[in-house]
Amino acid sequence: MAVLKVHGSPFSTATMRVVSALYEKGLQFEFVSIDMKVGQHKSEAFLALNPFGQVPAFEDGDLKLFESRAITQYIAHEYASNGTQLICPDSKKMAIMSVWMEVEAHQYDPHAAKLCFELCIKPMLGLTTDPAAVEDLEAKLGKVLDVYEARLTQSKYLGGDCLGLADLHHLPTLHYLLGSSAKKLFDSRPHVSAWVADITARPAWAKVIAMQKS
């Protein structure tokens, strides 16, 4: 089997998204650390892997890919018979999961990522959190989570009855938000809270977090 490589940072949400899929599948991979503090992600060598100058980038032999959600989909399909099943073989069920994957990408992530930036990244960079922005983002994210609450009363996981990429893709931003004042948004919605507890307890996810400590 060709060597799988991930180029990125263990603190980058997009990198964590890809690594979580690899651990769920039990796949061996090489992690190439990209030092964003010195702008390594804008170096010519890295731009050859991702012309947008963003982490992560991924290699499977000669195949090179960027965009975390395209990479996880590739992994889930190409290595369908390894480890956890992350997609649905049934085409109708997969269509439903695909809807909620888009929901994560277009409804949830824009607010969640900005909230992560305000509450978690800014303090790390010595910048001041903007309380008005936080209030606005929490209200918007709250509305999305109201839809999730309704969905999760009818479905065990977001994409359907089985865990899949639609759920997994949320883990990186969830991880950061649960460590912030935004945790209340998840705790106050019982079905959302149960779903969060379930997916964050997965052993593969613990391995992703462990990478931040090494």
Partner: protein, 223 residues
């Protein structure tokens, strides 16, 4: 003959037009069902049952109900793989991986700034809303950086994912159409040599011309 699929929403919506382009590329018969957004029909309980975020489009095909335009396009391309444009979603895993990569690039990098510009420059005036000059400036700067990447890519490759027109290119049609035809930001595309050549090719496709005609048709009269 198969029952036509149903698409809910006005063709002038960029997300609705994305789905229509895909259906036309795949020769799938569809019924376009109006949703009167000026009367808030998309926020009413009956509509929220099929699209809980209160947005257009939503879609029905026999027993399945879907939303999110890119998810609908993927479903249509897979289900009707053997008809219409058979290369739209790739014919092997490597092609598909490249298409997914550029479809994600569209959704994550191209769509946010281009959508903001479409809203500010094409829709806000029609809706008599005040434009936000700060948003326009920021969005233009972001979009310019994305188009620089596209300029390089399209110098190496005829279409974004490879040598064939795919869903990845199609997904860019709606926002670009507005920017090029209704705003003065069209130059961002036409002045970049490779991007300009690509835009000409993809917008010249019969399927897209039909979508543009649907957008120009007068809206149906309310009952």
């Amino acid at each position: 003959m198969a029952t036509p699929v149903k698409v809910y929403g006005p063709p002038m919506s960029t997300a609705v037009s994305r789905v229509l382009a895909c259906l036309l590329e795949k020769d799938v018969n569809f019924q376009l069902i109006p949703v009167d957004m000026s009367k808030g029909e998309h926020k009413k309980p009956d509509y929220l049952k099929i699209q809980p975020f209160g947005q257009v489009p939503s879609f029905q095909d026999e027993s399945i109900s879907l939303f999110e335009s890119r998810a609908i396009c993927r479903y249509v391309s897979e289900k009707y793989a053997n008809q219409g444009n058979k290369r739209l979603y790739g014919t092997n895993p490597l092609e598909k991986a490249s298409i997914e990569q550029w479809l994600e690039a569209e959704g994550q990098s191209f769509n946010p700034p281009s959508s903001a510009l479409v809203f500010q420059l094409a829709f806000a005036p029609r809706m008599k809303l005040k434009q936000d000059l700060g948003v326009i400036k920021q969005s233009e700067e972001k979009l310019a950086k994305v188009l620089d990447v596209y300029e390089q890519r399209l110098g190496e490759s005829r279409f974004l994912a490879g040598d064939e027109f795919t869903l990845a290119d199609l997904s860019h049609l709606p926002n670009t159409q507005y920017l090029v035809s209704v705003t003065e930001k069209g130059e961002m595309f036409t002045k970049r040599k490779n991007v300009g050549r690509w835009w000409s090719e993809i917008s010249g496709r019969d399927s897209w011309k039909k979508v543009v005609d649907l957008q120009k048709a007068p809206p149906p009269k309310s009952a």
